[in-house]
Subunit: 293 residues, 4 copies
């Protein structure tokens, strides 16, 4: 299949590698140059612009950093809406807010184009092994046309309905549930520390039983070791994420009290200069609020 | 070993069965009669009183329903403090508040007796297979003397230090983390429902990835099926539990904002007459707050 | 009228002074001696015990520090229930929890006695001028018999119905609304400080308009001057109060999310060693959470 | 003085009337026509465009409905930045978010123009009597040039420093404190209702004492009478306002837990179809959460 992929951050590069390896014709494009060398060596073509990337492609994947970037690349002059071939599909695979997905979808609809949202679950290492989860939503036939891409990068595709915003909601909600688990552990560790206990025992109890899952194993470990400088996802990005979640909840009139608790600790972390540390650093912020630091 | 077990609710009966099966001499006692028949048939002796149960025992296990029951059975007239043999140990294996554990410990200390707190992780079915987790805290030698009991009922013992209240804190905090996970899912399902999605897809996404653990599998399933009348643990008991947690946090001056969110939904559930339903019913309460019911 | 007043803290002394000044026969009692001299000089009689204080009295006022003290003085051996004359009324004028008022009322009911709850609004200085607000609830005729006392100490009596717990609820809720105002200002001042502004201007804007009332004038001023060591009411007592409020809400199945926010800041204040400062010190705690201290 | 006023909603019209009455030359402009008749009769000139309104004016007042309108009228083609006379001042007197004020200020700065933010306190009726509070911030000399306008519409000007965003912050924070008072009363009334009491008595107690101020008198009265259809300010606008506040707090890294509580009730009110009712309708939403409706 002829595929384009726009956005060559760590995740985009890993996904592009899998798409090439699966035997598809791939054009890649990144706003700043110098990210495509390895992919070109593997057989991809480096496009000179978004429009160039879209030329002759059946599926155009975007994997860009944030909502502003997606709006620009899709709706801007010489963007995807302006450049997509007849019958081709734009599949947005980044994590985006509901309002942005709606706006981009609207742009495509006005141009009589189909759009799919298919945010992914997993980190770049997982993408490089083709083992992502893919949450896909959009018109049935448009989703079907993207399937070769999903098979190349993912281990499983989840069906989130026929409206692209549904996939966005599911992805954001999954991140929300993760944020709540991180916040709960942050509070938990402060409490056991105030009782004179090592956080280690709490981590053992949790992960040996009800919480024997990556969310608790990975983030609990970071908190036990207070290793917030090995950063997977920063507190600042976490705040951006939780704000996307709250905006999605706002559009649907849903109160999310647990999101508030997590958001407030993230804000405190930023106020204390911990914005560029791993978002598990809310455990330190909770410790501050408990008189422990 | 000579053991007594006081409190023959479902959990106490299951544990007593394991202790007898392990070959220990066991005296059992329950405030209301008629719970001991199967255990007597298996070789236990039914005691006529707390004092009778304590006679000649090295380890006296309590597995009573709440703090008031523990205070009465331990500190009341002809209670455990008054009845314990020299050198014997009282090990409280129920889930109790920190203030109560402190009061009972103080009673034993004044009588020059040792006390251990060893709340358990797992449900009666798990106890009946000797597969509980045991969180034990108390003086080293006293904990050591209880180990045959822990081996009979549990698969693993977690060391929560030398002060009994530490074990209480760890157990309560584990329940708190569970409550937070339940609350997070409750909020999550409301949000995806407002986006027109089936809760099932959200459950799949969560449990296939970061949250592939019993807490999410079990309680997520209940919420997907809205099956709140098959009750594991009622909303009313959940509220009691979260109040014990908040009281423990109060004694240690620790704010727990996530506990507040869960507690408020439990209160709403009780206000709507759902107090005797499974505590996952907070998902219904969250749905109400989102205009879904 | 023959009146007794038990509990000679600052508030009790001020009220007793007004009762004597109004021409009533007053017996006074305090658990620890040495508080009655000025009152005796003014014409009161110092009783030697609770029972002695109750002898020959139509109305027995209690103005004791907390729930434990009220339970002891009312329900304890030789307490008010045991000592009240036929047809006399116990009127509890301190701030007490609903559960305690219920327990004391039950004690009186079993003894075929009437009880009134009539907590007061105002500080000792206000009491010394007979200008308190009185929130009274209980059986109509019992409340009527207390009216000479209310007239002596108060400027106005609010009718909170026929069940004593109603008066307790109203008083606690009034304190809750105050706590919320304090918390709101605490958050407000942190925010304007982060924008580089003097808190003074915020105080001016608030109290010149929508919030031209003592709650904002008094507590706003304390926060502007950061004068938390001139203590009206400590953070520790504030926490006790908010816990009484939450307990009252718990009995009625009412979530109070604003109370949670205030309670968490009070806990943080205690954790940082500010428990004996004025409860407006939550503004400092909020400032900490905002990276300002 | 030569003044322009752009935005003839109820508040803009009332302010324009005062400016004319004070003897200033006033040009008025509104995006949709038909709002200027009474003002023209009183001596104002109706401009045909923003650019026309700005011609020959020393001070250009904007009183537009929201941030989008301000951005358009100030930064759009033929907007104020493009049209302002040398040395003239744009004073934004609506309630705007910090980010928008920053963007508009930046536009003016690039054009070497001064900008003042001066949001007002009070409703249209108050404006019509020239009795508004004015919270002004901006360069000293620019603020000074606006003073004749402030004198015409206001009773008092509060100095919020030299950065326009400071005035925005103070105004938003004042609204935030009001929101907290409304939320606190909403919770308070639910609790007393659950104790079988009339809300009236709670209203009396509050407003006779610590809370004898308009915020409590006005909104407490609405709640007592459950008169949410006489609308001063809708729940939907309240949500917009609280979102502006939270955005301002976000930019400054300040957690506002009390704002979260109020926001969640507003969301619930919208979810239940109460978005166009007065924002005091959060009392009904709180009642729902307490099982009262």
């Amino acid at each position: 299949m002829n595929v384009a992929l726009i956005g060559l951050g760590r995740m985009g590069q890993a996904m592009a590698g899998q798409i090439v390896a699966a035997g598809h014709e791939l054009a890649v494009y990144n706003r700043t140059a110098g990210k495509a060398a390895a992919l070109v060596a593997a057989g991809a073509r480096e496009a000179s612009s978004v429009a160039d990337a879209c030329t002759g492609r059946e599926v155009v994947v975007t994997m860009v950093a944030d909502d502003a970037a997606l709006r620009e690349v899709a709706l801007g002059p010489a963007g995807i809406v302006a450049s997509l071939e007849d019958g081709a599909v734009h599949v947005a695979m980044g994590t985006h807010g509901v309002a942005t997905i709606r706006a981009v979808e609207e742009g495509h609809r006005e141009a009589a184009q189909a759009m799919v949202a298919a945010p992914v679950l997993g980190r770049p290492e997982v993408a490089a092994q083709g083992q992502l989860g893919v949450v896909a939503a959009g018109p049935r036939d448009a989703v079907a046309r993207c399937e070769p891409v999903f098979e190349a990068v993912g281990r499983r595709t989840f069906d989130a309905g026929e409206r692209p915003e549904g996939a966005s909601a599911v992805k954001l909600v999954n991140n929300f549930v993760l944020g709540c688990a991180i916040e709960a552990m942050a509070e938990a560790f402060s409490l056991v520390r105030k009782y004179g206990l090592e956080p280690e025992v709490m981590h053992d109890v949790m992960t040996a039983g009800l919480f024997a899952a990556p969310a608790y194993q990975v983030y609990g470990r970071i908190m036990v070791e207070e290793d917030y400088d090995t950063v997977g996802f920063t507190a600042r990005l976490g705040l951006k994420d939780i704000n996307l979640i709250l905006a999605a909840a706002d559009l649907a009139n849903v109160p999310l009290p647990s999101a508030n608790a997590f958001r407030d600790r993230l804000l405190g972390a930023l106020a204390h200069g911990d914005g560029e540390r791993d978002w598990a650093v809310v455990a330190r912020e909770q410790a501050r609020a408990s008189g422990l630091e």
